[in-house]
């Protein structure tokens, strides 16, 4: 089945891409002006460059990021992927957000395509351990949680930093996978690069 991945350049969509890798034909990115969007990860400035390294074409659609309008923009982007790359399904990196997941499910349903969420409800620690094990090189680009100061920005999540993050997430009770925007990440290298 030909698939498109909703790709932000962060760790979750990169890992979702890895899981579906043999069937992925295109990356789909929403460039949101709203830095606090519940739907889309920001910043996404490296996505163009990443699509070249991954060797997959990119569909990038701009959105103002207003709550329901951004869903229409996402629908447009997916429609474009259906028309240009004949995709029959979309893959997302949704882990725990029912807000995000159900909205994407509705769009896929309206467009009569499959929706795949291979990281759905995954244990957050397990998720990060797998990513590190698979030798993804993931850099932290934004932090927003008690217990995470600015010194974390620019750090790569290697085994040592992962252990430190696990300890901090338990102490300060934040989501280690960054599902609530506590940590934003960017992929530098990994098994999806060709």
């Amino acid at each position: 089945m030909k698939l498109g991945v909703l790709f932000s350049g962060g760790k979750d969509s990169s890992y979702a891409l890895y899981k579906a890798r043999n069937e992925v034909k295109v990356l789909i990115t929403l460039d949101s002006k709203n830095k606090d969007s519940f739907m889309f990860h920001t910043p996404i400035d490296k996505v163009q460059e990443l699509s070249k390294k991954i060797n997959l074409p990119l569909i990038k659609v701009k959105t103002e990021g207003r709550k329901e309008e951004e869903l229409e923009d996402l629908k447009k982007a997916i429609k474009k992927a259906i028309n240009e790359y004949q995709i029959e399904g979309v893959v997302t990196g949704a882990v725990a957000s029912t807000y995000q997941a159900s909205r994407i499910q509705k769009i896929c349903d309206e467009l009569e395509i499959y929706c795949f969420n291979p990281l759905w409800l995954k244990n957050q620690e397990e998720l990060l351990r797998e990513i590190v094990e698979l030798k993804f090189k993931i850099k932290i680009v934004k932090v927003a949680a008690d217990g995470l100061d600015e010194s974390w920005i620019g750090k790569v999540i290697d085994k040592k930093n992962l252990e430190k993050l696990i300890v901090l997430s338990k102490k300060y009770r934040f989501s280690i996978s960054g599902e609530g925007g506590e940590i934003e990440t960017e992929i530098l290298d990994g098994p999806i690069f060709r």
Binding site: V91, T98, S102, Q105, D109, Y114, C115, F116, W120, L121
Partner: protein
């Protein structure tokens, strides 16, 4: 041992519809619905039939693979598509009813439901949830496993 019956057509859906259920269990075996053996049924203490994706209705064409349900006496839990399968095999009518999202703290992801039932079903040894308890109501799966 709890036998976890996988209904999804595509392997890429395993992590979304099967793993979140097995993550809540201790002693289980996963089997594709087309490959259930008599030995699996004999060895299982209970059975959970998982759900699948909105567009994935392949199992409707293969309902004969669930005919074992008719004479099965041990506890069976059906999640979403699993509940629809139980109902259909037991002779109830499936009707169109699309619901996607969180309603009253339950995560729904279905295009059909069972005529005469809301989002739950309880008939003899059979139990069904039309919503996905593994998302927001994990205790329901744990209760079934331990009860």
């Amino acid at each position: 041992m709890i036998l976890v019956v996988k209904v999804n057509e595509f392997e890429l859906h395993d992590d979304e519809f099967v793993k979140p259920v097995t993550d809540l269990l201790e002693n289980f075996k996963v089997v594709d619905y087309r490959e259930i053996s008599k030995k699996d049924l004999d060895e299982a203490e209970k059975i959970i039939i998982c759900g699948t994706a909105l567009k994935d209705n392949k199992y409707f064409e293969n309902l004969d693979k669930f005919s074992w349900l008719k004479n099965f006496k041990k506890p069976v839990l059906g999640i979403c598509a699993g509940m629809q399968i139980i109902a259909e095999v037991l002779g109830y009518k499936i009707i169109k009813n699309k619901k996607i999202g969180v309603f009253e703290n339950r995560y729904h992801l279905h295009s059909f439901s069972v005529e005469g039932f809301d989002d739950k079903l309880e008939i003899m040894n059979f139990k069904g949830y039309l919503f996905h308890p593994e998302v927001l109501n994990k205790e329901l799966i744990r209760e079934f496993a331990l009860g």
